[in-house]
């Protein structure tokens, strides 16, 4: 309850959560407002928004309903955001926790591996993975997760490095607790707050990465995603800018929502800011 009180103290964090709820609602009600396949033809191609009552946001260059694609696309964006973030957090926490807790050569090896991932530009690595494993939705999600974990690993490792020498961890060792129990039962709950905050950054980046892939026609073409729509609109950008701009605005709002929520979480979870 105190956490909730701390969270709602910041107006921008509340704004972020309202935006996020709106996007979530769009995703959940997509089938209700726009039943059927969002990629089916709905009317003449390139109808401007607000011209037709049945097609409120117009159509793209193939004559598909943009509003339907936005609503259904929210599902894909959020799904990829959550799933890829979970993958990244899971890999990052395990590697960071083990490296930070054991130290020594375990740490050296794991951190060199992490750095190997970090020195490659994220997007380049993503393109390579997609090229090798194909561009189905699960594959794209896993690939985004696989390029986003190094920062989580480093963050978790840093937290573990400070916690492993704390007296309460030492005291758990003296009563004979096993390493796995100490790592995941004792240290992790204490190390989690900064990782949770960072998860919002990963989620925002994951949504952007998927959009970028779709823009290059490298994401799954069989699902309706915002990035795919922007990619479609590229061909008619000069005369029908709205085809790209509408999904672009949706991405902007979603990333903004996630970032504001992350900022709010940071302010609420960070005990140093409490007194302010």
């Amino acid at each position: 309850m105190t956490f909730l009180r701390l969270y709602i103290r910041s107006p921008s964090a509340v704004f972020g959560i309202i935006l996020l709820v709106l996007v979530l609602t769009a995703a959940l009600t997509a089938d209700y407002f726009f039943p059927g396949d969002p990629l089916a033809l709905a009317g003449r191609p390139l109808v401007w928004p607000f011209e037709s009552l049945t097609l409120p946001l117009g159509t793209d260059n193939l004559g598909r309903d943009i509003a339907a694609q936005i609503f259904h696309g929210a599902r894909i964006s959020l799904l990829i955001g959550f799933a890829a973030t979970s993958v990244a957090i899971a890999i990052g926490i395990v590697i960071g926790a083990i490296a930070g807790y054991y130290g020594g050569w375990t740490d050296d090896v794991l951190m060199r591996v992490t750095e190997a991932f970090q020195i490659l530009p994220n997007f380049l690595l993503l393109l390579i993975i997609i090229t090798v494993f194909g561009s189905t939705l699960p594959c794209v999600t896993a690939a985004i997760g696989a390029v986003s974990w190094p920062a989580v690993a480093r963050l978790t490792r840093a937290e573990f490095l400070t916690f492993r020498t704390r007296d309460f961890v030492q005291s758990c060792r003296t009563i004979g607790l096993g390493d796995i129990k100490i790592i995941f039962g004792e240290i992790l709950p204490n190390a989690l707050p900064p990782v949770i905050v960072y998860a919002s950054v990963i989620m925002a980046v994951a949504i952007l990465l998927e959009s970028a892939l779709a823009f290059l026609n490298l994401s799954d073409p069989n699902v309706s995603s915002w990035g795919n729509l922007i990619g479609q609109g590229r061909a008619v950008l000069r005369v029908r800018w709205y085809v790209s701009a509408i999904p672009g605005f949706a991405i902007l709002l979603t990333v903004l929502a996630v970032s504001l929520v992350g900022q709010g979480l940071n302010d609420a979870l960070n005990p140093r800011l409490r007194g302010r």
Partner: protein, 539 residues
């Protein structure tokens, strides 16, 4: 004689939601030239807040409600900031508990002391350097010119505190406020700093407002004493009167809690050893393969000790003497390089990881800091039950046992489902004790178990430790830097210095006729060693 500083009816209000309404309530006292006034109290008594009021450095949200602080007939309360800045540092100076955090780590000592002159005087650069050097010599820092060029981390704790004192005394202030200036220092360094302060005071006639929790220090330096409790002064007067014939019940209680510095009478301790340590060494090597600054530190050097069955062995030493490393070697938080630790036919020094885990329950440890040694995200009962659960006791049974243990260490068994932050320091140390006892150990290792606690709580926890030792037939290894604490409960004492044991023997013998030079220095440095604690009826 007129007082140089006079505090009259001072009340300071805390922000709403604090644990009490007033930090200070109706406080009146005065300080005179050339006199040391000690303000004694436990944590939260408001003694540091008083220093803040005088310096005009109140934390946000705290404000003076009533009263005056008169300095040379000027009321400091409500003085505008520019006027205050001319007084602060130049006329009223302050030194702090932790010199490392009070000094800027990025600037040299000379630069920081010179700042005082640059801010308050118009001396030339050359003159400032000369004055700074003279000051450092005055506070007896060895090799003053090179100390001027040193950064804070390059000096020892005692030298840093000397530099702070030099800085505070730079402009010959009328009043020096010292807020626990020796609490973070070793006992021998503390003795040096205290005598330095007294010496400087005699030469300069500064009034010293000395804030401390330690009655030994008070006995050492105070001319007058004010005892604080809950934001009020409960007793004030000449040191000899307050120390030897305290009137107030609270003062009497505080003084009764100070352990006397005499070895306990010989108890019939069996001579059979339960734990025999032989030739244990731990060496640290810093700097890697390619580093030019390779250093070898013998943290523990061929230590041999024995813990008598059912007895208490105290390991005494200053920081860096290796006493904590030794304790951690015994419970194998650190792996010793050489030697044997024999217990029950097992050699704890060479057991493998999984075997240590299995036998861990026989040797348990209580940690120093009650705030850091409990996982803040677990309930107290769970913390106590954790050990037995790890060793195979069913959860419900372990939690029920935790309640019994709570009663055993003097806590309310109903409070097992509270979190550690809801307990006070002394209570948390009791949880730590219950946690160690949950495994029915034969040996209990206590690493500075009371040094983070207030003196009255200290006495309670020590008494509890001793009681439980007798009742449960434990053997106790007590690690402490405080000779008074060691004197109170130990049967045998081992004195450590630079990783080696320099003297070991029955407590009474070590205290009455120490053989080693270093032991004599340690005993001679205990503040207030000549003060005979009055026997009162308050305890």
């Amino acid at each position: 004689m007129n007082p140089i500083l006079q505090i009259e009816g001072l009340s300071v209000r805390l922000p709403a939601g604090a644990d009490r309404q007033f930090a200070l309530q109706d406080v009146s006292l005065s300080a005179y030239h050339g006199e040391t006034l000690c303000i004694v109290g436990e944590s939260g008594s408001g003694k540091s807040m008083m220093a803040n009021v005088v310096m005009g450095l109140l934390p946000t949200g705290v404000r003076v409600d009533r009263g005056r602080v008169l300095f040379e007939d000027n009321n400091l309360v409500g003085l505008p900031e520019p006027a205050y800045r001319r007084i602060r540092g130049a006329r009223i100076a302050m030194i702090f508990q932790e010199p490392m955090t009070a000094l800027n780590p990025l600037r040299t000592i000379g630069d920081q002391i010179g700042e005082m002159f640059r801010t308050h005087t118009t001396l030339s650069k050359h003159e400032i350097a000369n004055r700074t050097c003279a000051l450092l010599e005055e506070v007896r820092i060895p090799d003053a010119p090179s100390a001027m060029r040193a950064y804070p981390h390059e000096l020892s704790g005692g030298q840093r505190q000397r530099a702070m004192i030099a800085m505070a005394l730079a402009l010959d202030p009328d009043i020096l406020i010292a807020d626990e200036p020796t609490t973070a220092l070793d006992v021998t360094t503390q003795a040096q700093i205290l005598s330095l302060l007294q010496d400087l005071q005699q030469r300069k006639g500064t009034a010293i407002l000395f804030i401390t929790h330690d009655f030994g220090v008070v006995a050492e330096i105070a001319q007058r004493v004010a005892v604080m409790n809950q934001g009020r002064i409960v007793e004030a007067g000449p040191a000899s009167e307050v120390l030897n014939a305290p009137q107030n019940a609270y003062t009497r209680q505080l003084i009764a809690a100070v352990p006397p510095l005499v070895g306990p009478g010989a108890k019939g301790i069996p001579s059979s050893a339960i734990l025999a340590i032989e030739g244990v060494s731990k060496t640290y090597r810093t700097g890697g393969l390619f580093s030019r600054k390779r250093r070898v530190v013998h943290a523990v050097n061929e230590v041999g000790l024995m813990l008598p069955k059912g007895g208490t062995l105290g390991i005494v030493g200053e920081s860096g003497s290796g006493k904590s490393t030794l304790a951690r070697c015994i419970v194998r938080l650190i792996d010793p390089d050489a030697g044997s630790i024999r217990f029950n036919g097992l050699d704890f020094a060479t057991l493998g990881r999984s075997e240590i885990r299995k036998h861990a329950r026989h040797v348990q440890m209580v940690f120093q800091d009650p705030f850091a040694s409990l996982n803040p995200r677990r309930r107290a009962g769970e913390l106590v039950a954790q050990g037995p659960i790890a060793h195979g006791t069913p959860r419900r049974e372990a939690l029920a046992r935790a309640k019994e243990l709570f009663a055993l260490v003097g806590l309310d068994p109903a409070s097992t489902d509270r979190y550690p932050h809801e307990f006070s320091g002394g209570q948390r140390q009791r949880i730590g004790l219950a946690r160690a006892l949950a495994l029915n150990p034969t040996i209990l290792i206590a690493d500075e178990p009371v040094s983070a606690l207030d003196v009255s709580v200290q006495a309670q926890v020590l008494r509890l430790l001793d009681e439980l030792r007798a009742r449960l037939g434990l053997s106790l290894l007590l690690i402490t830097h405080d000779l008074r604490v060691a004197a109170q409960v130990c049967d045998r004492i081992a004195v450590m210095k630079n990783g080696a044991v320099v003297e070991e023997g029955a407590a009474a013998t070590v205290f009455e006729s120490p053989r080693h030079e270093y032991t004599r220095t340690l005993l001679g440095s205990v503040p207030g060693r000549n003060w005979k604690i009055p026997v009162t009826s308050a305890a």
